[in-house]
Amino acid sequence: MIQTIHIGHLLRETVRAPYRNLLTRPTGAAIRNRIQETLAESDCLTALLDFSEIELLDFSCADEVVAKLLMADEERGERFVVLQGLREDQHEAIEHVLTHHRLAVAALPADAEHEGPRLLGWVSTDARAAFTCVCRLGALTAAAAAASLGWPAARAQDALEGLAVRRLVRTDGELFHPLLIA
């Protein structure tokens, strides 16, 4: 159900050198192609992209690897993409490029047991609050989210549906589920 893809491993295979820095557009495009090839052969529901072996991530590479992967909707199918192992500066690079494209992705913090996932990129304040609510409370209806957030039901429904369209929460009938990450 969950496939972890180690970006450091793909980088070493792609550039055939012991680099830990994810730099340049051609490198990023090659890594994205490898991710897409891996996912094409997988029936996983969640693709967990693990950046923990990566030292430096520049903007060009963040754009090629993360933003363009999210934009390639057809290749993604019904799959959810989650990032993990990111450092602060890598958060910043990904946040910047996703905001530029009005995209968003969920990222697991280093201490995932105690902290929930966070959203990187372009997300409205309502959607961010609704995302946190789902991650904290687990599967719920829009009415339950509205009650928890003190919002009108329609506001919670809009926020949660917006998250579902962007594959930041899963839907099952009237229920909105957090992403499957463990």
């Binding site: 050198a17 490198t27 520049d58 903007f59």
Partner: protein
């Protein structure tokens, strides 16, 4: 006939214009001699400017230019240690004794003169600089540790501009030194230069129409640095320079880009440079300089 171009005694981004004016039209019709005998000091920007001139003349298939090396032993040693003569010997007929580059311990040269020809070179540049950058930026300049990573990102993006846009190869060098007159503090300077098509030609097909009569080297620099446009239609492009600007704003740094006959700078409060200079002497390709100053006690 030989056109003699005197290398400024102190060769940096300011005296560059004197150097560029010496060539007249490009490519120069006559054989060229760069006379560096009187040189006392050159910034990375100055060193790369000389190599870029040599490269542009070679690519224009003109006679191999001559180069008379500095008289000062100290200057010669420093330029050798910065890796200048290694590449100058490929582009110029050198006159004068050149010392071998000394292999020494830590120095102010964070990254010696390094060619940027392909994507792999950008990886090499960033790998090479990572340890030295931390020592200088954090240890000497008082920037946060995370600034080292941002510095490397800025370096990567600046070098990628050559690979992606210049249409030929280029050079990069990084050095730390004290800006006595302008700032009175230590700085780290990244210089990136290429002999390629320049910003105007790179952006012309996609953006010239929008600017109408205003289109030129200055407008092209504004489009790239201020508006973040790129020649590619891909909407993710053009973010590299935007990031560099943001990074420099945070650390009160400076970026200047010269291309063709114009030069555009984002000027920090400590500097008195003009933001846009146009109608300068033509010089091939693009020359980028990024300056990051030591942080004052208050901001540490």
């Amino acid at each position: 006939m030989t056109r003699v171009i005197e290398v400024p005694a102190t060769f940096d981004d300011r005296s560059f214009e004197q150097f560029a004016a010496g060539f007249g039209s490009w490519p120069p019709e006559e054989k060229v001699l760069l006379d560096a005998r009187g040189a006392q000091w050159a910034s990375p920007y100055g060193l790369l400017a000389m190599l870029t001139a040599g490269q542009a003349i070679a690519e224009a298939k003109r006679d191999r230019p001559l180069f008379t090396v500095p008289t000062s032993d100290d200057v010669k040693r420093y330029w050798a240690r910065a890796g200048f003569f290694k590449y100058a010997a490929e582009l110029f007929e050198l006159h004068g004794k050149v010392p071998k580059a000394a292999v020494s311990g830590p120095s102010d040269v964070l990254l010696d003169v390094t060619p940027v020809r392909a994507t792999e070179d950008v990886h090499e540049v960033v790998e090479k600089i990572s340890q030295g950058a931390s020592r200088i930026l954090h240890g000497e300049l008082g920037l946060e540790m995370k600034a080292t990573l941002r510095f490397s990102m800025a370096l990567s993006e600046a070098c990628q501009n050559i690979v992606e846009h210049a249409g030929t190869s280029g050079w990069v060098a990084v050095q730390a030194y004290t800006f006595r007159r302008r700032l009175g503090r230590r700085v780290v300077v990244i210089a990136v230069s290429d002999a390629g098509i320049g910003f105007r030609r790179s952006l012309e097909s996609a953006h010239a129409k929008r600017f109408g009569d205003r289109w030129g080297d200055g407008a092209a620099l504004e489009a790239a640095l201020i508006q973040g446009v790129s020649r590619f239609r891909d909407p993710g492009r053009g973010q590299g320079l935007a990031f560099i600007k943001r990074f420099l704003d945070q650390w009160k740094g400076k970026i200047s880009i010269r291309s063709g006959t114009a030069r555009l700078a984002i000027v920090p409060p400590w500097d008195e440079d003009v933001p846009l200079s146009e109608h300068l002497p033509f010089f091939p390709g693009a020359q980028v300089q990024i300056i990051i100053p030591a942080q004052d006690a208050e901001s540490r």
